[in-house]
């Protein structure tokens, strides 16, 4: 059994990627770095979908369509997040998550 023909390989790989991304979201303070980590987590989800699609799904088009959907949503999310980060930088002159506390009561 080849290692790249096993479902578990891809699942564990996606798991590692998700873990790294989650660590980045929790530990980084630069808002752009947080966005980068979120992209990593989304990619981990995509790998999972594609792996299930390759090894388990009844029809191989379904997982690919969902992965394309994830990509489009990620692109929209990145556009919105980056424009919000730009607006925050203009207002506060900083993109650190610790400075953006204007909503604190």
């Amino acid at each position: 059994m080849l290692i790249f023909n096993q479902l578990e390989t891809y699942l564990y790989l996606a798991l590692v990627l998700f873990g790294i991304g989650l660590y980045g979201v929790l530990s980084r303070r630069n808002l752009i770095a947080v966005l980068i980590s979120v992209e990593l987590m989304l990619n981990a989800a995509s790998i999972n979908f594609m792996a299930f699609n390759r090894f388990l799904a009844p029809h191989p088009a379904v997982g690919q369509v969902i992965t394309l959907f994830i990509m489009a949503v990620a692109a929209a999310e990145a556009a919105i997040a980056l424009s919000i980060i730009m607006a925050v930088y203009r207002k506060l002159k900083s993109i650190s998550a610790e400075q953006t506390t204007e909503l604190r009561g």
């Binding site: 080849l2 290692i3 790249f4 699942l11 564990y12 790989l13 798991l15 590692v16 990627l17 998700f18 873990g19 790294i20 991304g21 989650l22 660590y23 929790l26 530990s27 303070r29 630069n30 752009i32 770095a33 966005l35 980068i36 980590s37 992209e39 990619n43 995509s46 790998i47 594609m50 390759r54 090894f55 388990l56 799904a57 009844p58 029809h59 191989p60 088009a61 379904v62 690919q64 369509v65 992965t67 990509m71 489009a72 949503v73 990620a74 692109a75 929209a76 999310e77 990145a78 556009a79 919105i80 980056l82 424009s83 980060i85 730009m86 607006a87 930088y89 203009r90 900083s94 993109i95």
Partner: protein
């Protein structure tokens, strides 16, 4: 012959996996934000390679086109338009790093356990039709709602991004 091909394929697979993991580590670990984006691009190229191994060259190309080509470049622009790179970032506090490590480690352990304990059952009847034509057919018949929704979402996101980012420079 077959053995040679298989070992070459395995070797290339490990290279792709290494690209993905090392890229992800750079994307999260490097102090310079620009290095983070380059690490993300590296990792995404690795993910595209994984998609090739998962029989989907179309999605692999889309991954490179959308993620590496569009999202990473957009992030580069945002970096250049925001905080100057020569400013020193404040040092990381050890306690927060440990906390993040603990939280991410807990989720990681839980998911790893879940993956190990589950028995995955393949569908009884599996179609062998992997062609791009079929994907296009599905996109315009069964999943046309997703297709239209994505178009609408991208339009709204574009308008929203313009409106949000324009704020503050209208005085000219």
């Amino acid at each position: 012959m077959s053995f040679l091909a298989h070992s070459l394929a395995t070797l290339a697979f490990f290279a792709v996996v290494g690209l993905t993991i090392i890229g992800a580590l750079i994307a999260v670990g490097a102090r310079n934000i620009f290095h983070n984006v380059l690490g993300l691009a590296l990792s995404l190229i690795g993910v595209a390679g994984l998609f090739l191994y998962l029989n989907s060259p179309f999605v692999a190309l889309m991954e490179i086109l959308i993620y590496v080509g569009a999202i990473c470049i957009a992030i580069c622009f945002a970096i250049m338009l925001s905080q100057p790179l020569y400013l020193k970032a404040p040092p990381r506090s050890l306690l927060k790093t440990l906390g993040a490590l603990l939280g991410a480690g807990a989720v990681f352990a839980f998911l790893a356990l879940l993956t190990r304990k589950t028995t995955w059952v393949a569908a009884a009847e599996r179609s062998k039709d992997w062609s791009v034509t079929t994907i296009g057919h599905y996109l315009l018949t069964n999943y046309v709602l997703i297709f239209e929704l994505v178009s609408l979402l991208l339009l709204v996101a574009m308008l929203g991004a313009i409106v949000t980012a324009r704020d503050g420079r209208s005085s000219s």
